[in-house]
Symmetry: C2
Subunit: 173 residues, 2 copies
């Protein structure tokens, strides 16, 4: 049994480490991604000290990233009876995770872009030089596209899993 447990342990450690490394790529910080990976593959909810111990990180770091993950909705706080400390458990449903991440990324990546583009388009709407007209047209095109992306993100983010799968199947497979 110990060989097999070791195998699992290794695989899990690899997952946590790699998922963390990929976090950076995704605009999510490494620790945050690691904690999420750790809890996604945890059998039981974990408390702050367990997370610190497992990932070898400081209390402050564990605390702030746990907080952030709860704020995103990727973790839930669980109260254990007879326990004073907070325990955390991860959202494990893949579609849920996806919609949450979609919402967050839209907020951070799409919405600000859209408002910049709207502003720049607005500010040059009445100019008449050919350069200004070209600039304005470029802003409008970008605005239209990003606006569309924003709508797509909203729709996808609020779809039920089943519907998404069904729709996707028609389109892409």
């Amino acid at each position: 049994m110990s060989t097999r447990d070791a195998k699992l342990e290794r695989a899990r450690e690899e997952f946590v480490a790699q998922w963390g490394a990929m976090g950076s790529q995704w605009g999510i910080n490494r620790t945050m991604a690691q904690i999420h990976a750790l809890l996604m593959t945890a059998v039981e909810p974990m408390n702050t000290d367990e997370v610190m111990e497992e990932l070898q990180i400081s209390r402050g770091n564990a605390h702030s990233n746990l907080k952030e993950l709860v704020a995103w909705g990727l973790l839930r706080v669980v109260v254990k009876k007879g326990e004073r400390r907070d325990f955390f458990e991860a959202e494990k449903d893949v579609w849920q995770i996806f919609t949450i991440v979609t919402r967050e990324r839209k907020k951070r990546e799409i919405d600000p872009a859209l408002s910049v583009l709207q502003r720049c388009a607005e500010e040059t709407r009445d100019l008449e030089s050919s350069e200004a007209v070209a600039f304005h047209a470029q802003m409008r095109q970008l605005e239209e596209f990003v606006g569309f992306a924003s709508k797509v993100a909203d729709r996808v983010g609020s779809m039920k899993h089943g519907f998404a799968v069904q729709m996707a199947a028609k389109l892409f497979i």
Copy 2:
């Protein structure tokens, strides 16, 4: 006329600065995003010195980011007759930009994730403890989802603009 040119100039500077700031959010470095913004709104192709001058950046920085943008396919090198220096012009078509960015992001964000998940699933395929089974199932679910995302990215990235718009219209508007 000078008032109006000033307006345009201000709007363009705002666009370049903000697009640059958003680059970070997007996992693209600030200078790279700024150069792209600058050239997307340039009437004529620009050379390295002009970019350096406009953005107040060093030659090395300008050089490496111009190179990177060319590698992505977001800029093209233009040879001007009677000019020894390279000039750069941006891809301005929004759909082209989108497909290029989609391809890059897939390469950096989706493909590595998929291979981690496949490996972790594979490594735990034969284990029998309930924890291992749960872990394996979780990896498989993630793998399935990310694999699907990978397909979607491929399809979208190779669609023609017209088709994408048509399809999107049906789905989302």
